[in-house]
Amino acid sequence: MHDHFGSQVTPHSSSNRQIFMATNTIERTAKQLVLTVQDYSLFAHRAVMNLFSAPRYWPEFLMQSDIIGFGSATIVLMSGFFTGGVLALQSAATLAQFGAAEVTGRFVSITMIRELGPVLTGIMVSGRNASSMASELGSMVVTEQIDAMRALGVDPMRKLVTPRVFSCISMLFFLTIVADAAGIFGGAAVTIFMNHQDGTQYFSQAWEHLRYPDIIQGLVKPLFSGFIIASIGCFYGMRTSGGTEGVGRSTIQAVVTASVLIIFVDFLVTQVLLTLLPPL
């Protein structure tokens, strides 16, 4: 048997070629991944360092804080409230089997504050804002608006990226507090109106067993999530190519990468904080 080039093809050489092609694909993908991580590291470094030198665009910072913070408040409030409610529903049924239904408040508050509040807020804001940052900046790239900005002597990293990163970090901190509070109130609503338990007991359990390490853990995580959402959203937006189709691709990549990274970094941060601040 001969191939298109007239060379004799044996089963052995064919399998060698397949192995060679597979190796090539793996090598190319690995190189691409390393290159992307390197580009992202440099990008994130620049975005952060820009805050420490002029010019700083404070109006942009305030505008982005409004878009990210106020704009995401409703979805964070709703998702936090219903998550707290679901937690109360699920836990009360299980806890009742052990005669411990009264600790529902403790369970809901610690779970919301330590874990679900920060992660849920991160995922929700990622879906809303990482996508909008990637698509907005991506559209600006493909319509040469980013080049126009550079041609006018303005650094797009300073003007567009740095304000988004820092406003996202600061707003995610407050949004997480909102989600935590909404979750606890959601749990309370279910406990009082559906499980017909005592509300005072719920809130006293929720409050009394809360420790500083729980709060620290819950408020450190959104700082990382905020950074991930904005830096990934802007990173994929700024490296968009290929017209409107490219904008769509960047948006998907930004949301997927940011969501996965939020959960992965949450795992790492939890591990580190549990070591540094062990539960009492």
């Binding site: 559209s139 600006m140 608006q145 080049d147 126009a148 550079r150 006018l152």
Partner: protein
Amino acid sequence: MSETTAFGTPDPAPSGPDQSGPVVAFRNVSIGFDGKPVLNDISFSVAPGETRILLGPAGVGKSVLLKLVNGLLRPDEGSIELFGQEIATMPEKQLFPLRTRTGMVFQEGALFDSLTVRDNVGYQLIGEGVPDDEIDARVHEALRFVELDDTFALYPVSLSGGMRRRVAIARALIHQPELILYDSPTGGLDPVTSTTIIELVMKERDVYRSPSLLVTHRLQDAFTLCTHRFDKEQGAMVPLPDGQVDPNTTFLMLEEGQMIFDGSIHELLHTDNKFVREFLE
């Protein structure tokens, strides 16, 4: 004492190390993307007061060349001097102040969608912290230059293609640049609108005498620029007397990443280069 320009600003004092030499000088510049060469060994210069028209078919690297001029792209090899300063290896941070001395008109205008025409045209002034009243006055002046004063408060989305280009020209000119780069300013426009745009380019050339580099694949635009002048009294372009051409308007031509022609309109029309002849015909 500095003179005051039509845009109400003092004439920018010449700055940079070398104002007597060329405004732009390319020496053996090459660039490629994904291993594919786009421009190869390009050398040319733009002298003060000179208008250079870069001709060539679509996809030959004209826009890439223009973006190399103000450092929006970096060459793989060669040297690029802008206002006497080497920019091929200059850090991006140092390039920003240098770019403010140039004005660039992008292919599709590249106006900021989320900003009004006023904020688009006055973008640089807003960034410099110029008082609002002065910004308004200078934006009105720049918009009057392109005859679009009534679009002051509109958003780019409500403008036609030709109007967007004219606003882009106003944005490029408001800072009284020492070099203007036009990237296919008439591309995709109807003949009447194209003539309006070319008239504006000519007006800028003949009124302010700023050097410029204009990319186009439309021969009629290039020849109009060469054979006409802007008459301030009539407020319109008029043909130059018989056989005369603007001596400061010269041509460059690219083909397959190579600079195949650099000279006057007379030399262009009498060249033996086969590709140039085909292009002209």
